[in-house]
Symmetry: C2
Subunit: 406 residues, 2 copies
Amino acid sequence: MSDVFDVSDVSGRPGSQSALRRQNQQRLLSALRSGGSQTQAELARQTGLSTATVSNIVKALAAAGVVSTEPTTSSGRRALSVTLEDDGQVAAGIDVGRRHLRVVLAGTSHSIIREASVALPPGHTATDGLTIAADLLDSLLAEGGIDRRALLGAGVGIPGPIDRRTGTVVQGGILPEWVGIDIRGMFRDRLQIPVYIDNDANLGALAQVSWGPHQAVANLLFLKLGSGIGAGLVLDGALFYGHVGVTGELGHTTINEQGVICRCGNRGCLETVASTSTMIELLSRGTREPVDTRQIVERALAGETAVLRVIDDAGVAVGRALAHMANLVNPETIVIGGPLTDLGEILLEPVRRGLSRHAVPIIGETTNLCMSSLGDRAEALGAAAVVLARAGLARPDTAMAQVTQL
Amino acid sequence: MSDVFDVSDVSGRPGSQSALRRQNQQRLLSALRSGGSQTQAELARQTGLSTATVSNIVKALAAAGVVSTEPTTSSGRRALSVTLEDDGQVAAGIDVGRRHLRVVLAGTSHSIIREASVALPPGHTATDGLTIAADLLDSLLAEGGIDRRALLGAGVGIPGPIDRRTGTVVQGGILPEWVGIDIRGMFRDRLQIPVYIDNDANLGALAQVSWGPHQAVANLLFLKLGSGIGAGLVLDGALFYGHVGVTGELGHTTINEQGVICRCGNRGCLETVASTSTMIELLSRGTREPVDTRQIVERALAGETAVLRVIDDAGVAVGRALAHMANLVNPETIVIGGPLTDLGEILLEPVRRGLSRHAVPIIGETTNLCMSSLGDRAEALGAAAVVLARAGLARPDTAMAQVTQL
């Protein structure tokens, strides 16, 4: 491997010429990763390097195929636009849902090379999930003509809290068949590549600040609203795991002290009033046709009163739980993800109402609330981001740069 | 100033002899700050330095008066115990309460040199508070025979959320007379030393991991339960401020949707059911004698049924709000501070009950709940800790080491 490829190596005698050259190169690559394509003049401004140094580094990187260059004009003057190229290495992101499984293949420049998803049978076991994921990964590699040896690793998102002391799914979660299993070891043994596992909501949060439009946000709460309700937290620019790794469990905020029993053992939790399972249950009464999440979205968009009411009640309850969370950790941005994102303002409006009603005024006024623009790909993209971060290819100045997944 | 005093300077050419000596010295002083008095052998183990290096550094530091040594025995062998001495510089910690003001003077080794508190009139203005604080600080300096020039700075704790964008107390807090005032500038102009301000609950949290018994805890929630209810958060080893600085507002968690109006404008907030003001109001009905917080503690300890019931109801509500917070940030330890700490298990038991009832099982099982052992001094000690941290004298491996107060 030539010196120019060895971008993660900043060791060597400090102050030596080669160490300095590597550091400058690393700084320039970081600027390209965080800022996308830029002219040499912009890169010089952003890195503080001289234009001559930038030009020399760009020449070497272009010769090695790490970047490509293209003539352009900037303020009427001739300029050279520099773009980061994938270096051929690939990160796999695997999102295991309760009812679906998605795999993405991402390039080192955070390009999406290939992706696919399949339905999972209810009550699937960890072995089922692994087999389906491995097969899907293999077929994506084959379709893309990608050698397995190009795989940097796989990130795996699981829809349940993970006890970081043991690396296993916590009892009482949404995947009872997966409890107590060494998921990381199992995937690693089968895939024969480095594997990182994390909770899906954490990966959704990571996706917002790495692939999504919130790269400048240091404090972000990502709410996954689906058959379960959980949140991932980016705090002070890094994913936050707390003491044992079980964070963001706001699906179990008590909303109605005398409400129905929740799978966690408590009563009247947010999940019992606002999950998609509850919406489906409410809308299935008195009808023989099965209702699914996509129908909820379609019927709401068509203006059906009962569906709108169910969503409104759920939204206000979600907003109330979010208000209490925002009162505690004062996020800059709250992003809502999951299968209902297409509802847009139909869901956002009642959530915003609940948030404003229950947050202290300054929190209600300063918290930005929006839908995830990454749709149902957020978790898989977050999983791929973990792999890139672990390979030293994170976008700097984002949570990814400090990722410490299992 | 001799080289040996210049402990914060780790600059200079890297790798040079003098830079290395300073770094080793710094490491040894850090070990003494975090671990207290230790033998030379223990210091060598903790720092990774050779016993000869430790011995040389200790000799130089002792000659300069930075440490003192005393012969002792360890495992039956002769040893030399090394103790950090104050270097003559002093940090002031000022805690401004709604009804009291406390000042502590702390030495650079985290010794408490002097402290005193006075009552404040209700509705006091920021100017009142400043004058009383400045006078109390002057009298403590005079009593201790301490030159004003020895003051490193003053930390000031305020019982209300502080908007870090402006450095002012947020509207709707517990000190309406202080809203919108540049408290830091006012104190700095009067005291003529560096001033750092922060919310009292944040400082209480900082005190737990710096002066208190929780120095090894990376994720701690400090709940101040008084006429207001607020929390300070130490997350991943640092005080957490969120987006605009308003965190830990769990006093405004909705407990009773149809409850009484709270000063924040919402209904049925935790403060309206569990603050000491509410307890006083409940216990004052049908009696002409005024009730105060101290009487609540005394009457509860004497076993008076009505008082015990009021505390029990408040405790369960506090536990419920704490459960939702713990579900979100998964703290290792929750510490309760404020004027009711002497209640001990009488208050802790219902709080624990509410916490277990409303937290997801793994959170309820792994969260340590205890009373603050620092009593009503926590906030002032935290304020002094900020000053020491800013002077590079923080205990390392604690939140203090990363403090970033206003």
